[in-house]
Amino acid sequence: MKDLPSTVFVVDDDDAVRNSLKLLLKSAGIAAESAASAQEFLSTYDSSQPGCLVLDVRMPGMSGLEMQHELNVRGAIIPVIFISGHGDIPMAVEAMQHGAFDFLQKPFRDQDLLDRVQRALARDAENRTRLRLTDRIRERLSTLSPREREVLQLVTQGKANKMVAGDLGVSQRTVEIHRAHVMQKMEAGSLAELVRMMMTVAQ
């Protein structure tokens, strides 16, 4: 499945800031949309849409930090770049501790914002690729029988068929058959690949 094109969402209550940022991003060839409040953004946000957020810290109603919290609760992975007119260190530290991608103080140079946006979009693409891979592996895992899952666990711990047979109280031949099924269902070409898959989903 191919991702939709990346979009930068600008959330700021100041019309002038919103419009100039949208213009800046579009002039750099980056698709941009905007919302005048956190509520407006959250009511239409689709987390399957790749991109990043440029989020004002202080807004009437729900603040940028509160909106970040809400996104975290929803399990959204979209990178957030905060922009702030009167940022201080405690505010920036709090935003970063809650997973902000970056925190930029106004006034900033256009290029500084564009650089950060590009980096955030690259990060988002990486995250989405990794998540897709994890989902695929989980899907394959779900097709295993309980016995096959036990065999998978033991062989990825490095146990030889003979030891697995002993652990499970079955014949070595039975383990071999289960193991072959596991490799087939997981679409793994080697034990090393299988181990890598298990490490990927464990992360």
Partner: protein
């Protein structure tokens, strides 16, 4: 470091608690002294003589925290943080500064700091953070 118990009376939990260590280091001796003052009353505070030996210490300490007293404005601390993070994945690292430069603080956070704390403005924040790390 605490060695194996000679008499066998110490419970493992006690050993773990005793090994929690606050390592204080800094490129600014004035700032380092200020941090040590702020942490008066905490047990197991050590302050190695140089930043290099500090990084060696963070490798040996498995629980507690690292407090780096620094003047961010003089020289970015980012490389040092990356190095400390490689040695110690789990130890919280608090960067203490008297600068109010948000960009430097954000950069330190991006490079592995758990928090950036301004002194003398936030004595209580420092004590709170360190208390949490020592629990």
């Amino acid at each position: 470091m605490v060695g194996p118990s000679q008499n066998g009376r110490d419970a493992p939990a006690d050993d773990a608690a005793r090994e929690r260590t606050i390592i204080v280091a800094g490129r600014s001796s004035l700032r380092t002294r200020e941090v040590l003052n702020a942490l008066a009353g905490f047990r197991n505070v050590i302050w190695p003589t140089s930043l290099e030996s500090t990084l060696a210490e963070t490798g040996a300490v498995t629980a507690g925290c690292l407090v780096i007293a620094d003047d961010l404005r003089e020289e970015p601390i980012d490389d040092l943080l990356v190095e400390a993070r490689e040695l110690q994945r789990n130890l919280p690292i608090f960067v203490i500064t008297d600068s109010d430069d948000v960009a430097e603080a954000v950069s330190a956070m991006r490079h592995g700091a758990t928090a950036v704390i301004e002194l003398p403005r936030s004595y209580s924040t420092l004590r709170d953070e360190v208390s949490r790390a020592m629990q």
